[in-house]
């Protein structure tokens, strides 16, 4: 009998505390707060919201319409970007947050175009995000695309240098080769990740090349068409070439990161070489050029 009041008392205390705690949660809903507001709280000592803060800043920075940023001013976007990277790097390093790594992957991907050396950071966070789909696209299809572009540029240079005045003797072989490139490009297009913008343009360039060669009436005209195509593909493929060059010679990348991504680089390079070799079996290299 004496135990009963003690038990009741304990139960009341537990109920009260549970009720008080639940009230606290209901009072501040972090999901309704903006990145800046979460940051204020984080700075006030709410350390448990780091992941939310990273996520909010990533969305704020990566998904907010550019027009809105323009109205705010570029300095706000730059500041948001720095904070996004800072918080997400913390979230990844302290809490191994894969989502934070994924955000950073997206961020560095957007920078590679202008600063190809961020390829290291991109691959590092791609690895960290454990995004299997993108990883496979990158090492499998993007490597194939790079191999195809490099091979096609090499072949066009060879054609132009070796056979300038006798294109018409090899028209069908040339068209077959270019058509092979085009078919492969169309096949890999849906799965391509890094070069998805370039591939569309390059497919249309191959379409034009094949059509123009079919209509060409003289060696001179063919030479002019192929020469024009060479200029175009070299220009459009500059980004591809830059990336490929870094993968082949990654010494210029961040040393700390390079150690951690060398396995992916090796796979990419291996795949690229594999695809390049597949194309190497061609009429020109077999010595059948008339």
């Amino acid at each position: 009998m004496i135990r009963m009041p003690v038990v009741s008392f304990a139960m009341v205390i537990i109920i009260m505390l549970a009720s008080a705690c639940s009230r606290q949660d209901a009072a501040i809903n972090y999901d309704e707060l903006t990145a800046e507001e979460l940051e204020i709280l984080y700075q006030q000592g709410h350390r448990n919201i780091l992941n939310k803060l990273c996520d909010a800043y990533a969305k704020w920075y990566l998904e907010r319409p550019e027009a809105e940023w323009w109205l705010d001013g570029s300095e706000y976007k730059r500041e948001a970007g720095l904070k996004f990277v800072d918080y997400c790097q913390k979230a990844y390093s302290l809490e191994n947050n894969k989502k934070a790594a994924d955000h950073l992957r997206s961020y560095y991907l957007s920078l590679i175009d202008k600063q190809p050396l961020y390829l290291g950071e991109f691959i590092f966070y791609l690895k960290g995000s454990e995004n299997t789909k993108i990883y496979e696209s990158f090492v499998e299809y993007d490597s194939h695309f790079v191999a195809l572009i490099e091979h096609s540029v090499m072949m066009i240079d060879k054609i132009l240098s070796m056979n300038r005045y006798k294109f018409s003797d090899n028209t069908s072989e040339m068209i077959a080769l270019f058509d092979r490139y085009r078919k492969d490009l169309k096949r890999i297009e849906p799965n391509l990740f890094m070069f998805s913008a370039e591939i569309r343009l390059i497919i249309s360039m191959f379409d034009n090349l094949i059509e123009s060669l079919g209509k060409a009436r003289s060696d001179f005209e063919m030479g002019w068409i192929i020469g024009e195509f060479r200029g175009q593909i070299k220009t459009v493929g500059t980004f591809v070439t830059n990336i490929s060059r870094i993968i082949d010679n990654p010494e210029s990348l961040n040393k700390d990161i390079l150690v951690k991504i060398s396995d992916i680089l090796a796979v990419f390079k291996q795949n690229k070489e594999k695809y390049f070799k597949q194309y190497a079996v061609s009429f020109l290299e077999e010595g059948t050029m008339k």
Binding site: V12, S19, A20, I40, Q44, E66, G231, Q232
Partner: protein, 639 residues
């Protein structure tokens, strides 16, 4: 009862139990109230922190003029102030929002855009258009770059024009993505490349000077627009210098030495002017210029040598002087400190009229210059040229010696011929002198000295002497005709005198005094019958008018001169006595009569007076038989 007793009486244990429950409840209630108060105070605090921090950030944004950011912060701050029941803070925030025109406008859905306030929807539309333009520019940039890579500079130029137009329309958004200066740079570069291509085409079609003019224009434009494309500049400068070099080669082949030198000078000038070629390229081009200059030097001087060789045996001083001038002009091309010594005195040299002497001085001057040029230009082959001219000089000097001997002999023979001709003139042997003069002229013309001014003048002198003799011969002939005519006239041989006068036309020149006198005598001979008739008529009219005492008309016809004699009076005048027959026809109103007369007329005529002077006249009618009618009629001047 027992039951009641039992129901209303509480055991001690129960009382303790109920008291315990009550105590626990009261304590629990206190605890609950305490927790609730603490929790409420925590969320209130958090809202307050958020509201205050956001307000602070809003104020900073407002101060920086970022109204959209400020409005966003203030609105969120108000939300948290309201949630935290911080009513005074909420009021303050509301006051800030309502106190700023800009914040109010943002609240009304307006945004600041290019110095004005526009509806946000309108801004978003503009933004989207500008963004698309930015995307277009990326593609257009690709296209332009590809066009340049393919060498389609005209197309690239058009694309860049489009790019710049689009850029200017959307520069407020894409200004940071694209650098207008860079775009303009690319545009100008494309323009220059287009021009360069045009220049290259002209170069390929061997229109080197036109190509060079284009290249210079491009380089000037590059300088004007400060296009620091050192590689392109170097390429164009190299093409420019090459164009001038090639043009020099073309002119060299056409033996236009001055044109070729001018082109080489231009090439050298352009080589050092633009300063954008690599030293290696410059060295190559300079070597090329030197090589063409070397060819020009030797070709032009060899041509001088050819010309000199061509005239060595001509003896024509005019030609030699022309060659001299030509050589001087050629050497002016290489007018280095080693000037050709004869440049200044060429006219004096030519005045010497000595063909070989001119050549000797000329060749000596050339050799001297070649010797100096050998070290100046460092061309080894100059030695060969020097040898060639030395050989020519030896030949010329040999000719000078031989020519001197020939000249002496020639001069002696000419003097002899001239003396003989003069002697013949003095002896009146005009034909002989003419032949000798002819021989002397032919002698000069067949000699090697014929081109010398002295002998050209001698030929003219001999010709003049010949002309003088010819004139003398003609004058003698005319005198002879004149004398013969005077004689024949005085003898009455009129027809013969007229015939002789015709020889005058064969001699020619009817303007001198002798010819005029001959012509005067010819007229006299031809008109003697007329003068005779006029003299008769002059006396017959008054005579028959008196005889018939009526108005009458007289005609003198059927004139025949029976005898004519004359004599010369002084040097200018002649007196003639004419005896002849004439029929005088007289017509009056009543009758017509004819009288045959024999008349003797004396007349005088003078060359200086040019008229006939009447002297005397006697006329006697001719009767077949005097017994058949009246006595014959006489009339005439009284003696």
């Amino acid at each position: 009862m027992i039951f009641k007793k039992e129901s209303f009486s509480l055991s001690r244990k129960r009382i303790v139990f109920i008291a315990g429950i009550l105590t626990a409840l009261i304590f629990g209630l206190f605890l609950y109230i305490a927790f609730h108060l603490k929790i409420s105070r925590t969320s209130h605090y958090t809202y307050g922190v958020l509201a205050k921090e956001l307000r602070k950030r809003g104020e900073m944004a407002l101060k920086a003029g970022s109204y959209t950011v400020a409005r966003r912060f203030f609105e969120r701050a108000m939300f948290f102030a309201n949630s935290g029941k911080l009513f005074s803070l909420e009021r303050e925030l509301r006051k800030i929002l309502e106190g700023s025109e800009e914040l109010k406008k943002i609240g009304q859905g307006m945004v600041p855009f290019q110095g004005a306030w526009v509806k946000k929807e309108e801004f978003l539309r503009n933004y989207e258009n500008a963004r698309k333009t930015g995307e277009d520019l990326v593609m257009l940039n690709y296209k332009a770059t590809a066009a340049i890579a393919e060498g389609n500079y005209a197309e690239a130029t058009l694309i860049y024009e489009e790019i710049i137009k689009k850029y200017d329309e959307a520069s407020w958004l894409i200004g940071s993505e694209f650098d207008r200066d860079k775009l303009m740079f690319n545009y100008r570069k494309a323009l220059l490349l287009k021009e360069k291509k045009k220049g290259d085409k002209l170069f390929d079609s061997r229109a080197f000077e036109e190509a060079a003019a284009l290249y210079i224009g491009i380089l000037k434009n590059m300088q004007e627009y400060n296009l620091k494309e050192i590689e392109l500049c170097g390429e164009i400068q190299s093409s420019l210098v090459n164009a001038f070099i090639e043009s020099a080669v073309v002119k060299l082949t056409a033996q236009d030495w001055h044109g070729s030198k001018e082109m080489l000078d231009r090439a050298r000038e352009e080589l050092f002017l633009w300063k954008c070629m690599q030293s290696e390229t410059m060295d190559k081009l300079e070597a090329k210029i030197t090589e063409v200059f070397r060819r020009l030097y030797f070709s032009s001087i060899k041509q001088c040598q050819n010309f000199i060789s061509g005239i060595i045996y001509s003896g024509d001083v005019q030609k030699t002087c022309s060659v001299l001038e030509y050589v001087i002009n050629i050497f002016k091309l290489f007018d280095n400190p080693n000037r050709l010594s004869i440049q200044m005195g060429s006219s004096e040299l030519c005045a010497q009229e000595r063909h070989y002497r001119i050549l000797e001085v000329l060749i000596t001057g050339i050799i001297e210059k070649l010797q100096k040029d050998r070290s100046f230009y460092n061309f080894d082959e100059i030695k060969n040229l020097e040898t060639l001219f030395q050989n020519t000089l030896s030949l010329v000097r040999d000719r000078i010696e031989k020519e001197q001997a020939a000249r002496n002999e020639f001069a002696d023979k000419l003097i002899v011929l001239e003396e003989r001709a003069k002697r013949s003139v003095r002896e009146g042997k005009y034909e002989e002198s003419l032949r000798l003069y002819d021989e002397a002229i032919r002698f000069i013309r067949s000699s090697p000295f014929r081109g010398e001014v002295k002998y050209v003048a001698k030929i003219e002198e001999l010709n003049a002497a010949q002309n003088k003799i010819t004139e003398e011969i003609k004058r003698g002939k005319k005198e002879k005709i004149l004398t013969s005519m005077e004689q024949l006239l005085m003898e009455g041989k009129l027809e013969e005198a007229v015939r002789i006068s015709r020889d005058l036309h064969q001699i020619g020149d009817l303007t001198d005094a002798t010819a005029k006198r001959i012509l005067w005598l010819r007229d006299l001979a031809q008109n003697m019958r007329v003068y005779f008739a006029d003299e008769i008529k002059g006396e017959a009219v008054p005579f028959f008018s008196r005889l018939y005492r009526k108005e009458l008309k007289i005609k003198i016809e059927d004139i025949s001169i029976q005898k004519l004699s004359g004599r010369k009076v002084g040097s200018q005048c002649f007196e003639f006595c004419v005896l002849g027959l004439a029929n005088i026809y007289i017509e009056t109103s009543q009758r017509l009569a004819a009288y045959p007369f024999t008349c003797e007329v004396n007349i005088k005529t003078c060359y200086d007076l040019m008229r006939i002077t009447h002297q005397s006249l006697k006329c006697r009618e001719n009767k077949v038989k005097s017994s058949l009618g009246q006595e014959p009629i006489f009339f005439g001047t009284q003696e």
